[in-house]
Subunit: 504 residues, 2 copies
């Protein structure tokens, strides 16, 4: 119900998350198992994410394209790791027609059985590399730098809105290169794009680096990832970039003539982020009042609430609100706002109390709220309230209306920076260096967090730790000082510490 | 092969179309029956269409959202016309898992059979109205103005790239209203948006108005449409807006409390355009040199070709080209360009001859080509070539470089207007008023075109005409003078002329 409080994090973290998703109007479960409905406010977040990422993809030379939803079953089998990794999660199309039986509904038409079953794409490497075969003949055709925005489906048994759903929306980049070095460079470049997006747009600090062998993508030679810490101190894999070697070029026989006239298999990468990012954004910044959206991605960046009891008061405050909204929209378009106008909304709902209205906008995560009441109008001023510091503490009173637009823009930038700093401080405070496995086993439960520990590099040890603690290696961080040591489990030598955590 | 000529329209119109789709790099058939791959240049056209339309949808108060790809089979049966209309075209998901059999590929796991089969959405009215049931309780929840950008699938036996494919991309608006009048107003408003988009963005003139009963959407009370004429004088349905009455509200029991406290079924509309528009754009404007893209939707609006044989010449012309490109990109963002920077490309491919390079850009439909050779550099000038008038006729020589950016923008606007005028003149020249059915039967074959004729309003007569001539009623035009008369087939009274044509 509107006005009702959401569950607090302390009471029940999982329910707090679902309450925000529900009450902020972000998404809901559909009647189709594991498939979500992304509601307008949630989809608007995704649209902003798309626009920000898409711009970066294009600035790094990529074009968008679109490949079929359906993939012949046999394609999956052409790359063995992929078949292993995805076969169990595939929705299968077996028929292409229903029969409508008047009065009795519809039935599958047994005569319309497909010769070869089709699967709904769980990811598109196979169909794309089958297509690339026709596009790549010569080194002149390379690199091929393509991205696709689409829906994919992986049949999941246990789902949670945004974080793990059967159908989700994502982008998948698929590139082909003439040399290994170029493909590896691309793999790292796109991880860099994801890291920049996470940190500078989502205000989410990330650890980044390769996954261990046990955690890599089926079909990849190696996988790079970004990993974020949620407020329950669990890790969320927020994006991955895969170096695929020549695996798919070999599986689909994609060869090109190199500058020496010899035939070679092309080198591949793929990389993706999904609507899962929305879950990560919610769980990084939000509080017990509701969603906290970082200004660069907030669907509504500024809400202006004119206030007043009498009709003449309302008229005056509404006029001031509309004027300020116009000034904000007319500001020069800035990089910070992705060269779009500032997204400002005037809340004309005088029928509800100011307290109710303010709560609703806090719930929806709007970064800056402007209040203009009769006294403010008289003083040609307004009040600015910042979402990252709810209550009186975050309010600036008596801001002159003729300076408000500039102050609001400055405040949005400050909030963006503050959210990142806050999230980073939390992440760092909950990242621990640890050398003793017994201690690790206790601390991974309480207080939890990220643990930087030495590991001997074997799958065996990784599996043992995972089986005993449910913690996994999130990444082999590329950006912490290299320090040799001994594996906390086996005592064997280790080249550097890796990040262990429980994860979503 | 690059450099090879495409089939002319006179030689083979269908092959001409396919040659353009292929050679301009727009799309190709995939290995999955009826499903296309939209290649980067084709997808870039779609992205521009999306951005233009999306802006108009938002300016008319709509929000985007996302609903599941998969729909329980039984939902289709809840609305009878819909079951009739779409059952035969539905891809059916029956299983949710494959088994990977090492060395033998993958097989459908018989133990993973779904209790109720799911269909891939052919359109989303059913799943959306099932969802709206939870969103609509009171008149305060209305109107609900939602749009979805997504893929849909309709199993088609005979497909043609963009024009008719099994999977296609589209947008589908689904709105709910408290009153019939409001819903009908919305139906007309969105037809207006499509008409504006077709005429002002695509430069495609359209007839608009209701479909006859025989041509309406399954589940609609009535369907409004826009109809364009292709260069073979056939009609293409380019967009539809449906008034759905209370049909879906009744099928899914969506009721709201009105202001008097009574429960009522909500009123619905739906409206959509798809990647079919790309086919319509190609067939309206293109010529025997290749694609002609209207400037507002062209992925590349301006290509600058620096020319020169000697290294120093090339250096100088390239520098001038880059400078001009920068000037174009830095122009103030205009409504005409959807507030985006002018899309300009510098063609640095000095290895091919100027003639080869010019042909390639003409093939791809770039509206304005700028040529800068050594003589131009010496004169601080350039040559502007316009795509809508190929050859010398369309060239402006000696345009001063310091005025070029402004002249190019003016030229882009002129080309946009000229393409519309040309298409309209063609459409009007091939639209005939006709009263005699025998004459109609001849003329529909040769010369073909749109025929404004009287019809008695019955399904029977419509079916007879269609069976005998393959022409259908494209729309009951809303914008030609009403004129009573007698049906050309039966002689019964007719309230106005309707548009007959053969169609895609």
């Amino acid at each position: 119900m509107a006005g009702e409080k959401i569950t607090t994090r302390a009471q029940d973290y999982s329910q707090w998350y679902l309450d925000i998703v529900n009450r902020a109007g972000l998404a809901e479960n559909s009647s189709v198992r594991g498939c979500m409905v992304i509601k307008p406010h949630g989809y608007a977040l995704w649209e902003r994410m798309q626009r920000g990422l898409d711009r970066m993809f294009k600035e790094t030379g990529h074009s968008n394209a679109y490949f079929p939803l359906l993939i012949p079953k046999s394609y999956l089998a052409k790359e063995e790791q992929m078949a292993e990794g995805f076969a169990k999660e595939c929705a299968v199309v077996t028929h292409y027609r229903l029969k409508s039986i008047p009065g009795k509904g519809v039935e599958v038409d047994p005569e319309a059985k497909l010769e070869e079953e089709l699967i709904i794409r769980p990811t598109s490497e196979t169909i794309i590399w089958n297509t690339y075969k026709g596009w790549i003949q010569s080194w002149r055709d390379l690199p091929l730098l393509i991205n696709q925005w689409c829906n994919v489906l992986r049949w999941e048994m246990r789902t949670r809105l945004f974080l793990r759903t059967a159908e989700f929306l994502w982008q998948e980049g698929h590139t082909a290169h003439a040399t290994q070095a170029e493909a590896e460079e691309e793999t790292h470049r796109m991880l860099g794009v994801y890291r920049t997006f996470a940190e500078e747009w989502m205000a989410v600090p990330v650890y980044y680096g390769p996954k261990s062998e046990g955690q890599k993508f089926p079909g990849a030679d190696y996988t790079l990832c970004i990993e974020a810490m949620m407020q329950d101190k669990k890790a969320l894999q927020a994006g991955t970039s895969h170096f695929l070697g020549q695996n798919f070029a070999k599986a689909f026989d994609v060869r090109f003539q190199n500058t020496q006239g010899q035939l070679e298999h092309a080198w591949a990468t793929s990389w993706g982020v999904s609507t899962r990012l929305i879950g990560g954004l919610i769980m990084t910044h939000s509080d017990d009042q509701g969603l906290v959206a970082p200004p660069r991605l907030a669907p509504i960046q500024v809400v202006i609430c004119p206030l007043g009891k009498e009709a003449t008061e309302r008229e005056a405050s509404l006029a001031a609100a509309k004027k300020l909204a116009g000034q904000l929209r007319d500001l020069p378009r800035e990089d910070f706002f992705n060269f779009e106008p500032v997204a400002v909304k005037v809340d004309e709902d005088f029928n509800n109390t100011p307290g109710f209205r303010f709560n609703e906008w806090e719930l929806k995560g709007v970064p800056v709220r402007v209040e203009i009441g009769p006294k403010d109008v008289a003083q040609k001023a307004c009040v600015l309230a910042r979402r990252d510091r709810p209550g009186k503490e975050g309010k600036q009173m008596g801001v002159p209306l003729d300076q408000a637009a500039d102050k609001i823009v400055a405040l949005l930038k400050e909030i963006q920076a503050n959210l990142f700093a806050k999230a980073k401080a939390f992440r760092d405070a909950n990242t621990h260096t640890i050398d003793d496995y017994e201690e690790f086993k206790k601390k991974i439960e309480e207080p939890g967090g990220f643990f930087l520990a030495h590991w001997d590099g074997t799958r065996e040890t990784e599996d043992k730790i995972s089986a005993e603690t449910k913690a996994t290696i999130r990444c082999i961080p590329a950006h912490i000082p290299k320090e040799e040591g001994k594996c906390m489990v086996t005592g064997r030598p280790s080249a550097q510490r890796v990040v262990f955590a429980k994860s979503y």
